[in-house]
Symmetry: C2
Subunit: 358 residues, 2 copies
């Protein structure tokens, strides 16, 4: 099945599959196996293997614990009604992973090997893919720097690991508008930094603002640019879209925001549908104005976890902007239905976005 030479060591103590009726709390349950491959300078990536899911044993001086040299990705596998297993645009994640790798000096992973590895481990634990509406198998590939060395330089050894987690619907009650906090004190990332890479640095930087927002009853933080502090960047783990006066607007990829796979899919869908879409700078002031004059029709976040998250209202400092009637916009719903339909094989995949695991 695979070009990559993978050694298999199957578990002798398979875990019980989660009961279909229990809600699957995101990111808490892991399957029976994981994929691992090592890197060593001079030797390259080697020893690809699928082994029982188990703790990693690392020297306390392993660089990942100290200097944050770590890359991760997130994508999903879905079970179709006719029993096929589909991945959604895995090549986009693989491409982004290697962009991250380059930015943080981790050796690249050959794209085909990466895809083979995902397919092989998903195939191995295929029985773990849940089938209830809204559920899927979350796939988490990541690389960590493992040199036992205290000093700042790129590591000479790495582990590339893929773990799998069956996940429930992100919003068990269905698409529900969320409240978003526009952050004016903390900054997530800045041009020249690692904002466009998927690496721990951007997430640790976001925690304090997230705690502040939660304490105030907001579920997500919307970041502003770190230079002028007035242009919209993205949400903690989602890109953001605004429908203003019939036009869909989203921040341009500028070096400090993550190029989301869902973001890209939404843009392609809008283009296909003839919905005008613009990638450009959007200031908080523009949002105020649109919200005040009634032209802010829809706001939604995009990301692998929830696909589409409608935003009901945004707060910046002491101002609250209500989005239209605070419900779910027509376009948001249409995009959600289309993307999830393609992911589940219910809608014809004219874009060739899905990849079957055979």
């Amino acid at each position: 099945m695979t070009m990559l030479n993978i050694r298999y060591e199957k578990t002798t103590a398979p875990k019980e599959l989660p009961k279909e009726d229990n809600p699957l709390k995101f990111g808490t349950i892991f399957t029976d196996h994981m994929f691992i491959m090592n890197y060593e300078t001079g030797k390259g990536w080697h020893d690809a293997r699928i082994v029982p899911y188990a703790p990693l044993s690392l020297d306390p001086s392993a660089m990942v614990f100290h200097y944050g040299q770590e890359m991760f990705e997130g994508l999903k596998a879905y079970k179709t009604e006719d029993g096929r297993t589909l991945l959604f645009r895995p090549n986009k994640n693989i491409e982004r992973a290697n962009n991250t790798n380059r930015r943080i000096c981790i050796p690249e992973i050959p794209e085909e090997d990466f895809l083979d590895a995902i397919k092989a481990v998903v195939k191995t634990d295929e029985a773990w893919i849940p089938t209830k509406p809204g559920t899927s198998l979350y796939i988490r590939p990541f690389v960590i720097a493992t040199d036992p060395f205290l000093g700042v330089r790129p590591s000479d050894t790495y582990m590339f690991i893929i773990i799998l987690s069956p996940v429930g619907a992100y919003y068990p009650e269905g698409l529900n508008p969320v409240k978003i906090w526009i952050e004016d004190e903390y900054v997530r990332a800045v041009k020249g930094g690692v904002g466009e890479a998927k690496t721990g640095a951007n997430y640790v930087a976001s925690l304090a603002a997230q705690v502040k927002a939660h304490d105030d009853g907001y579920s997500q933080v919307l970041w502003l640019d770190g230079v002028e502090r007035k242009y919209i960047e993205e949400v903690g783990a989602m890109n953001i879209f605004f429908k203003i006066n019939g036009t869909v607007v989203t921040p341009k990829l500028n070096g400090s925001i993550l190029p989301g796979v869902t973001r890209n899919s939404v843009i392609e869908l809008c283009k296909t549908w003839g919905v005008p879409v613009e990638e450009r700078k959007i200031s908080v002031d523009e949002l105020y104005e649109a919200s005040n004059n009634g032209s802010l029709e829809e706001v939604f976040g995009t990301g692998t976890a929830a696909v589409i998250s409608p935003v009901g209202h945004l707060r910046f400092e002491d101002h609250v902007m209500q989005v239209s009637d605070g419900g779910i916009g027509e376009l948001s719903q249409r995009i959600y239905d289309t993307i999830t339909g393609i992911q589940l094989g219910d809608i014809e995949d004219t874009f060739n976005w899905t990849v079957e695991v055979k």
Copy 2:
């Protein structure tokens, strides 16, 4: 000896001490024991123990591998000629550790417990403190987030660990001026971010520029501010000082640079000596001018690893600025001799900077 209730599990297989004649490569050799303490929400910090140095076993989904929630510190223990063991300003590191912890949502560690832990583990492996000139025992306290959970939020569990590494003189050939590369493309940190915290994020962000600088024959990167891209921030793992026309100038703590312990010691020394010292913004242009008109008398980095690193020349884009005659400045040497003299107990510690491990 200690207020903190520490459980001891001594190694049954002590390693051989490094030969005094071998150069101790920085950060590669670790002692027989380490300190560990766990945290759990609701339970607080608990189970303080000194155990044999050994690999850590962590779930592949442990948050530290994905979201970079990790704090570290670095300080040193020195052996005096009369056999005492001295720490240099450990309370400064402890205070900074808790500042980092607060910024990245790690629970604080009680200051006295922190100091007790350092003393206890250093005492345990006291035989590992090297005694040759310039050598010391590097102490690396760090905290990692250990929740087995894929999702962005502060962890509910942590490990606080202290490991020890005997280290040689940072510059085995003595104080030698280094060449510094002023970075104009990448950015290390920005106000509102985590630049003033000692966390992996700042170091992973620095790797690409460091590789670029090394490839060009420069040993260190000097960062500019992320907003205007013209003010001096700090070096990869050092703060930076300039002596211009008799006045010592160093960038003001602005939220994006690390408040170095050595930096603070240098400022205090200068004040005591009556050397004028200013903490303020310094632009690259000002450096050019000073270098051109001959008023750039000395440049040096400050940090725990090397104490003082004289800088012989700086490069920004296509311009190279030579610092005075490219040798070691008088003040640089005096500061180096004084601080290392105090650290080793050779010079009277009128500042009360050293803390004895009894």
